[in-house]
């Protein structure tokens, strides 16, 4: 019984957290525009009039791209650091580095 109450409370908390999160999404405008997400969701067949769900998908995609970019940056930095150890004088002038996959 206690376990059930705890689980029910937990579920309520989770529900509230989710609803709060969706509400907060309306304040936070993701970098990926809603129109783009709507276009590709419509292309896939997903029909939804709720704007918050579209924002959720946009934020999820933004997170995915940011993760990929971060990992690529780490890889690039590691490569640059390995090269710099061998040739310090020549590489000091070059500050900018490109994304690589």
């Amino acid at each position: 019984m206690n376990h059930n109450r705890q689980s029910n409370d937990g579920k309520h908390d989770d529900d509230s957290a989710l609803s709060d999160f969706l509400a907060s999404l309306m304040d936070y405008t993701p970098t990926i525009p809603d129109e783009l997400v709507e276009h590709y969701l419509a292309k896939s067949g997903f029909q939804c009039p709720d704007v918050r769900l579209i924002r959720l998908v946009a934020v999820a995609t933004q997170k995915f791209v940011a993760e990929v970019a971060n990992d690529a940056l780490q890889h690039c930095k590691a490569r640059q650091a390995a090269v710099v150890k061998d040739k310090r004088e020549k590489q000091q002038k070059v500050i900018s580095f490109d994304a690589c996959f």
Binding site: Y28, E35, L36, S44, F97, D98
Partner: protein, 377 residues
């Protein structure tokens, strides 16, 4: 972090046209959406800390992000349909995110009795939203694709028209107005027939007047061209006005034309001379050589023809062609009553003769003798 600087956008747009069209989302109709995705992805990478971007890398990452959105939508739609719904909800999307994130893993993925609401995916996203900076999209994007509004034609019943046949129900779209597809002539005839007699006459007169005017103009043009026929040809302005192809044909002797010269002899010196200075009387065609023969065959020979032949023979040696007419031809020639003996002989010489052959043999012998004598000398 270092401030990033992106590549020139124009170069990207120019180079993007050269990319292969093998991508699923690389069709021409998707170019606009992909361009927007590229801008968004570039902005995100800049926020992460990149300073430059290879075009191929940008295209790849934007394509992947677009496919990510597409796959989320597909999975969410699938789960909604499985649940018997047409429209998706938040749980369908979380299911889709969990499916995509199952490769990398998320907190609580291994729990058997996990609830969708308390999914680790949502928590990760919540954390990300709290940490990341607010980066608005660079451009204002309007809703796309723009749906063209189709102009619906009303049905017979809506237009309160009677269908022109019992087999046509009234709920079908009405036919277009007959004026839109009827020919102009028929319409004009109707209008001319309906209008008064005076009006029709005036219209006819107008048509006739225009025709006459156009004809007059043409005639004037031809007359103008005739006057200008042999005059200056230097200026292009004149050439455009007087079209030589529309000019009236010239009569014989109107314009001085350079004479056409036929070669008289291959070994003759006359051929080496300037052909322009040869007389007109020397111009002979093959037909002309045989014309007198043909005329002599058909009818009596005239003195004028003889004169012409004499001229021919004086000025150049005869060209003898063996046509293959045998002795019978001679017989036919001799049947002509009003023939002169001289003319007969001449005709016989043309058509080959035993006497001729003897003459040839004699000539050959003479030439051989002369050559032998010259060689001896």
């Amino acid at each position: 972090m270092n401030n990033g600087c992106l590549e020139n956008r124009k170069k990207e747009h120019d180079n993007s046209q050269k990319r292969p069209k093998s991508y699923k989302f690389g069709s021409k109709s998707d170019d606009f959406a992909l361009a927007i995705a590229k801008v968004a992805v570039a902005q995100l990478c800049e926020s992460v800390g990149f300073q430059g971007f290879h075009l191929s890398a940008l295209e790849t990452l934007s394509d992947i992000s677009v496919r990510y959105i597409y796959s989320i939508g597909k999975t969410a739609n699938l789960s909604a349909n499985l649940a018997g719904r047409v429209e998706g909800n938040v749980f369908d999307i979380i299911h889709g995110l969990e499916d995509l994130g199952s490769n990398l893993g998320f907190s609580g993925a291994s729990d058997v009795d996990r609830c969708v609401v308390s999914s680790g995916v949502v928590k990760d996203i919540t954390h990300f939203v709290g940490v990341s900076d607010f980066i608005p999209f660079a451009y204002d994007v309007s809703g796309f694709p723009v749906v063209k509004e189709s102009t619906k034609t009303g049905s017979f019943w809506e237009k309160e028209e009677v269908p022109p046949g019992e087999h046509i129900p009234s709920w079908l779209p009405a036919f277009p107005d007959p004026e839109t597809y009827a020919t102009r002539l028929s319409v004009e005839n109707e209008t001319m027939g309906v209008s008064n007699g005076k009006k029709t006459e005036s219209e006819l007169e107008r048509v006739e007047r225009t025709m006459d005017r156009s004809l007059l103009n043409l005639q004037l043009r031809f007359a103008h061209n005739e006057n200008k026929g042999g005059s200056s040809h230097g200026s292009g302005y004149v050439a455009t006005e007087s079209n030589p192809y529309l000019a009236a044909p010239l009569h014989v002797g109107e314009k001085e034309v350079s004479p056409v010269v036929l070669p008289t002899k291959l070994s003759n010196e006359v051929a080496l001379r300037n052909p322009v200075h040869v007389d007109v009387g020397n111009h002979v065609s093959v037909l002309e050589t045989f014309a007198p023969a043909i005329e002599a065959m058909k009818s009596g020979l005239c003195d004028s023809d003889n004169g012409k032949k004499k001229l021919l023979y004086d000025q150049r040696p005869t060209v003898r062609f063996k046509i293959g007419i045998g002795k019978k031809s001679l017989g036919t020639i001799s049947d002509f009553g009003s023939q002169n003996e001289e003319d007969l002989l001449k005709i016989a010489s043309w058509f080959g003769n035993d006497n001729e052959k003897d003459d040839k043999k004699r000539r050959v012998e003479k030439i051989l003798k002369e050559s032998v004598e010259s060689s001896k000398e």
